[in-house]
Assembly symmetry: C2
């Protein structure tokens, strides 16, 4: 096994988390001759495609240490690894992206303050620790506003809207009385994301900007390229690059942004506000598997291995749709559709809203 | 697990053989939400990407039966499974392609007679059982001619050229004194292959014809489309279809052909002779991973699952080169090359001539 900062084919990548992102990372790693060792508290989609598996809790220090000791690099498919666990991993193997990316992105308050420190705009927000600070934040921001737990929120979990006249204590109780932030509503015209990679020596490459539509807070549809102007696209990439540089980031980084149309001199200006940072491959980048010269998963593998980044060229106009819950029953129709690229994650139980797979459709360029 | 002729996502595909073809089949199956169980006498590249593994000999009837009992369908990555083993598998699960495809393709004499029975041209050949029949065959075919064992030959193994004045007994001894055929040399201008699929209900789809170059009997380079005329391309596909129909074939089938330029009335005619049949995905079809709407591996999975075949559309002019032996050391340069799609098989030891990976380069159409 290689022990320098760069891996060689045959080396083992450790992936923390066994969901579909881990699964697609393992598939991309395999293509490049790498082995994958997946660590998770229970079996999941990634377990079916990896060379080695560890079943243990995310706070099991000895299991984490034993796992990392067998890996040439450790990465993760989600950002909620406890900081102490990241330290245990980092003592035994390089962890990429590094612990700072985790620390920043797993706490909405830390993340927003970090963005402010870089001069990057976000939605207006206030720290909420109790009903009193919530009431005060509501007075400042107006109604409606969105209450979000600082930690462990995803796909709309840990969020609630607070309206004029609502009882702050009750709304706070609804999200588990946990430390939170209150965010002002942003009158955005589009939601977009930048999926980009930063290599070990600081090189940077972004895929074309993704335009995202959510249903019930869950990503439903991504199209690439996003229908935004060239200036906004350029600034979005610059924002991602600024964040990546500030975190000395290694791997694929996703930045979700709101596009707000504001009147300018004789033309509309597309302002950009960062919604959140995901220190990982991202659902809005799944289209790259079928429609980019390098997939986001291969790109992440290249970056964390200390290898050169691949070309981010796009093969055509792309639409990716998530397959949620019982929609997975339509797999046969999708297999019949010429040119539809079907991806299923091997999940047994199709619970409502669960991401079961996705389908990509590419309209070739030219 | 589904028990009808058609599989459903979540089912397990059994793959006999753990080489790179099994590995790429497992990766394609995973994309469609299927699990893979690999059976092989020893660990190999496919073991790193499958859900379950069985290590046992290809003649271990009880291990084969236990393996097949856990699979919704069984397929294989090579054609040298003993007939008795195929029967054991078939008693417990559908085996696709079926045992007849194995029987025909694992014996060069049976294969050539089968082709003759369909009116398909091959190189001239004679059965060789001993030095006497070899001497007689040499008299008929002239020199030089090629002696090939009937069974277990691949990548030039089990072959010898016999020249004027050679001692037949010595040449036969050189290939192990095994039952053989003597083939007349064919003055071909090109070697091509048809990689095609036949579905459970007889539907048929061929990828564009591949043009192949060998070094030391090992495939070095494939380009698609082959530089042959439209008529020859059409007839090649018809030959593959005739073979598939005659075998009631299910899965991807590869037919290797020689193109011989013969003078016609005012123009050259491209005659076609079948060299051999491979009842499986094939090295010359690896380009489809990066440059066809459906890869040969996904196509094989679709066919053996009883699912509709995918589109065989090609994305551009393609060249695939095998990475053999120590050439694998050049992996870093290939990662640096924009648009080069690198595939490595995870093999540890880079023995001379060993297939370590391949690289595909696509020049987009238009």
């Amino acid at each position: 096994m290689s022990r320098g900062p760069q891996l060689v084919p045959g080396d083992t990548i450790g992936v923390v988390g066994a969901g579909q992102l881990g699964r697609m990372l393992a598939l991309a790693a395999a293509r490049l001759g790498l082995r994958t060792h997946v660590f998770a508290p229970e079996s999941g989609p990634a377990f079916d495609v990896c060379a080695e598996r560890t079943i243990a809790g995310y706070e099991d220090a000895s299991a984490l240490a034993a796992f990392a000791a067998k890996c040439a690099v450790v990465t993760y498919e989600f950002e909620n690894i406890p900081a102490a666990s990241a330290e245990v991993l980092a003592a035994a193997a390089p962890v990429r992206p590094g612990p700072r990316a985790l620390a920043v992105s797993q706490d909405r308050l830390t993340e927003k303050r970090f963005l402010q420190s870089l001069g990057i705009r976000t939605a207006p927000f206030y720290q909420v620790d109790d009903a009193r600070s919530l009431a005060q934040a509501q007075t400042e921001l107006g109604s409606p506003a969105i209450l979000k737990t600082r930690r462990f929120g995803y796909d709309g979990k840990g969020q609630a809207t607070i309206r004029e006249g609502d009882d702050p204590a009750a709304v706070l109780h609804g999200i588990g009385d946990r430390p939170a932030i209150l965010e002002g509503r942003v009158p955005f015209s589009r939601e977009i994301s930048v999926v980009a990679a930063r290599g070990l020596s600081g090189e940077f490459a972004a895929f074309d900007i993704c335009e995202n539509e959510h249903d019930n807070h869950i990503l439903a549809r991504t199209r690439a390229p996003a229908r935004i102007g060239a200036a906004a696209a350029r600034r979005s990439v610059e924002i991602a690059r600024t964040i990546g540089d500030a975190l000395d980031y290694v791997g694929v980084l996703t930045v979700e942004l709101f596009v707000v149309e504001e009147p300018g001199e004789g033309e509309t200006i597309e302002s950009l506000l960062v919604n959140e940072i995901a220190p990982r491959v991202h659902n809005s980048g799944h289209w790259t598997i079928d429609a980019a010269l390098t997939s986001q998963f291969e790109q992440h593998v290249r970056a964390i291995c200390g290898w050169p980044l691949g070309s981010t060229g796009r093969l055509g106009e792309v639409e990716m749709r998530n397959i949620l819950g019982s929609d997975a029953q339509n797999w046969r129709e999708l297999l019949h559709e010429p040119g539809a690229c079907l991806h299923l994650y091997g999940k047994r139980e199709a619970r409502a809203g669960r991401k079961m797979g996705h389908v990509t459709r590419v309209k070739p360029a030219g």
